[in-house]
Amino acid sequence: MIPISWYLILAAALFSIGLFGVLARKNAVAILLGVELMLNAVNINLVTFWRYNAPAEVTGQVFAIIVFAVAAAEVAVGLALIISIYRNRNTIVADDLDLMKW
């Protein structure tokens, strides 16, 4: 059988890769892809703890479903903003979006 640590280490690695993507990618859409990876890592943790600690209750699954809803909302608004910016400024390189920079 698989000890819980395997899942947790996998989730930690996935989270770190996602974090790297968020910080290092130029393309704004790619940054959102990194955020998706991080959210998935969180969800793996939630489901793992549900399965290993309290499979009789559904708390972990409810949390995971709420995370799905949040991820969907984040993607919808985030991509709409990116498309809007692209239409107005004709770029999606995150570094070039510095209108608010002083």
């Binding site: 479903i65 809803a69 969907a72 919808a76 991509l79 709409a80 498309i83 239409r87």
Partner: protein, 118 residues
């Protein structure tokens, strides 16, 4: 073998294997004589101009957006639908409120004219 997903996993494997086998047999049996004309992109016989990077309507994105929100909604509704008969009548109204709130979003997009294909 209490996990039914093992069966599904094997199904996915075999389901991948059979089309791959079909393509592989075709690749072995078929002739291979490529030339430039044959491999050019088929666009009604007219010379292809540029690559296939054409600009798309933002409209596709709007439909994708509305779809995404409703898709997530149905995910919430499936547990509701399964457990409906073992819950008090009150639960039905909770689900109805849930649906109505989202239909309000659809009405908003409709009134804003975002569902028109222009």
């Amino acid at each position: 073998m209490q996990n039914p997903w093992i069966y599904v996993g094997i199904f996915v494997l075999v389901g991948l294997l059979i089309p791959i086998a079909a393509i592989a047999i075709a690749a072995i049996l078929g002739p291979k004589k490529p030339n430039a004309i044959k491999q050019s992109t088929y666009e009604c016989g007219i010379e292809t101009v540029g690559d296939s990077w054409v600009q798309f309507k933002a409209q596709y994105y709007i439909f994708g957006l509305v779809f995404l929100v409703f898709d997530v909604e149905t995910v919430f509704l499936f547990p509701w639908a399964v457990s409906l008969n073992s819950l008090p009548l009150f639960a039905v109204f909770e689900g109805i409120i849930f649906v109505l709130i989202l239909l309000a979003g659809l009405v908003y997009a409709w009134k804003k004219g975002m569902l028109e294909w222009v």
